[in-house]
Symmetry: C2
Subunit: 409 residues, 2 copies
């Protein structure tokens, strides 16, 4: 047994980045708990607003705060990024190394030996660049990426933490919208606009509703499918001969030729333009062309923050994959992202393994073409079997006076 | 004890009308169960699509179907109107009695002696007119109204079934949106657009979130408050000096001078125009005038159908008030609506009593002026105390394969 004096004390930092999810705080819990279990870890810091907080030396000591189980219980259930997030991209090292130097300075000042970055493909770009810089400087500081995104579009991993809960919220809400859509005796079209800028995973996942015997959604449109207004209207005309009330799951990223008309004109730091109103635009088209009662519903940020109906499987995996990243760091890994690898769908089983973060940086994993039905407006049974395990189990909120409680820094 | 032969057998009909809620099916359960407990009741019919279904003789025999407890368990949790709804207004009897004659014919054909109509103030107009017509015809058929609306704007009742669940969904979702709104380090304004065409009860009820220690919503705007864009911007400027991230609860019915620009131009059968996009409009104003990150979120139909986070108090009262209407009918009442009367807020206690349906028909109960703070952008502690009991308790969905199940006809 090691005596305490033989252990070289070191500190650890964790940060969160990109768009919020319901599971990113479960990953914070997983990374914290795993790090705290190592006796050589002294302090565990959280960085406010992702890598920005490292650059600006805005660290919060979580060591005592998160040592209480009640805090972890609440944090695990709290949506969005408890530490704050950022949309900050590191410049090319050869052009500007100032941010890198600021990061290294912060790490050294606080004796941080391991840095865990929970985020999507932009964040993995940061993890890859930063670990390369540190190695070049001869630093032994390690950087590990922990995946998250409701979009499920990260490469190399079977799926991403945050996605299962978003999928569960979207499908459960669609089942309720379906109940709402059928109440009047006149035919109707309801268009649910679902997040997914580049990939249609989330809109596609609404097919899980079929397992309840509910036919909704009747039509599914993804960015990975060619789209034309004429065909969309033809699909609706056909469906309306079978169903009085048609519900459509529409990915916000569908390649609409007129999409420019729907954009808000606002872009984020990565040059991603904010999409909004494609559903609203098509609502107008359908009302004009088909003349029936038409409604569009934007599920909006609730898709990524509605933690009152989250997937237990998702939250557990978010915690486990983060813990696995910590263990990988203790095995000496750096510059890598931890992945979820599916061993089997029935029975569902996964394992965790790491890949170079650079393999996932700035890349998008698209919904498989072979999971799109030949008519181009639905997904296959294989897709359903892929999605179904990810929404299993519930993790109800802690309520006080009828209201869910959330953890705040 | 009565022998069976001494009981005059009769049938009962129940219908649902107006906009869906999460609790209107609990009222169907309450009316069904109470009626079924009376030995003189033989068949219990549901009318499809409200009074339309009576006029068109579209009745469904619920007697056996709802005799199974499992069906009642599921129906109670199912959002929206399980029997379908309508937005049908009876004409003035002196101008056109054809619909009245069709209704009477249907009642007589099916030996219906009691008719229970679950709905809002338009439906109470139907209940009042129909009972007057029946009395004039010398018919002993009774008509009782059972209140429902998420808007909480029915006169004579302390609150309406359906409202508590909508309030719980809105506030819980706002608490999650609040988590989502604070993640980036730049200041932001988030505008949540909440249902309420004429009255601001639902937007006002979001104040219940304050009991969790969460300051959200920072500003509340109701149709009952005067509104100007200048003042709205001034309120925001002031709040942004106190809070980096401001969340606004905005009723869709605020008296915006430019509101005409936000209307979809579509009206329903009552001439109510569909409001949409007031939040989106003000989002543009705020972004232009204050130059900060701004987002608007329309909570849309989820407010009236998100049964996965409903209020147990609301569902129980919906069932009880419907049962009380059945008992009132058995005491000989007709042409009346059953009300909820609050006896006390702490401890919370209510009783049920009836009023003439004509007193509630076509009238709107506004949010009390005395519950608006002097600065005109918030509500008082009295309002909070009024709302708080209505969102207490949960009634989780029945899930299968991770998805909520719903009852269908």
């Amino acid at each position: 047994m090691l005596s305490e004096s033989m252990i070289t004390a070191m500190n650890v930092a964790i940060a969160q980045s990109g768009g919020p999810t319901c599971a990113i705080n479960a990953s914070l819990v997983g990374a914290f708990t795993a790090a705290a279990s190592h006796p050589e870890v002294d302090r565990i810091f959280g960085a406010e607003n992702g890598i920005e907080g490292i650059m600006e030396d805005r660290l919060v000591d979580l060591t005592e705060r998160l040592s209480r189980p009640a805090e972890l219980m609440l944090l695990r259930r709290t949506p969005s990024t408890a530490l704050g997030s950022c949309r900050c991209r590191l410049p090319d090292l050869n052009e500007d190394d100032a941010p890198y130097r600021a990061i290294l300075e912060c790490f050294q000042k606080h004796s941080i030996q391991m840095f865990f970055y929970i985020g999507g493909n932009d964040s993995m770009d940061t993890a890859a660049k930063l670990s390369a810089y540190l190695a070049r400087q001869g630093s032994s500081i390690q950087v590990l990426g922990i995946p998250k995104t409701i979009d499920n579009d990260l490469c190399e991993t079977d799926h991403t933490p945050g996605f299962g809960s978003a999928a569960k919220y979207v499908a459960a809400t669609l089942s309720e919208i379906a109940c709402d859509s059928v109440v009047y005796s006149i035919p109707s079209v309801t268009i649910a606009e679902i997040m997914g800028r580049d990939s249609g995973w989330l809109a596609a996942s609404s097919c899980v509703l079929r397992t309840t015997g509910c036919g909704v959604p009747h039509l599914i449109y993804l960015p990975e499918m060619p789209f034309s207004e004429e065909r969309f209207l033809d699909d609706l005309r056909r469906k309306l001969t079978e169903e009085k009330h048609v519900v459509v799951a529409l990915s916000e990223g569908i390649p609409l030729p007129a999409a420019s008309a729907c954009q808000s004109g606002v872009s984020d730091a990565f040059g991603h333009s904010y999409l909004a109103g494609i559903g609203k635009y098509l609502e107008g088209v359908v009302r004009r062309e088909l003349g029936c009662k038409t409604r569009s519903i934007e599920l909006n940020v609730m898709q990524r923050c509605a933690s009152h109906i989250s997937s237990l499987t998702d939250l557990q995996e978010a915690e486990q994959v983060a813990a696995a990243a910590v263990e990988a760091a203790f095995r000496g890994e750096t510059g890598r992202m931890m992945c979820i690898k599916r061993l089997s769908s029935t029975p569902y089983a996964v394992t965790f393994e790491s890949v170079p973060a650079s393999l996932t940086a700035n890349r998008t994993r698209y919904f498989p073409k072979e999971w799109i039905t030949p008519d181009g407006c639905d997904v296959t049974e294989d897709a359903l079997n892929y999605f179904l395990p990810l929404i299993q189990g519930e993790y109800p909120p802690i309520l006080q006076n009828g209201m869910p409680l959330h953890w705040t820094l």
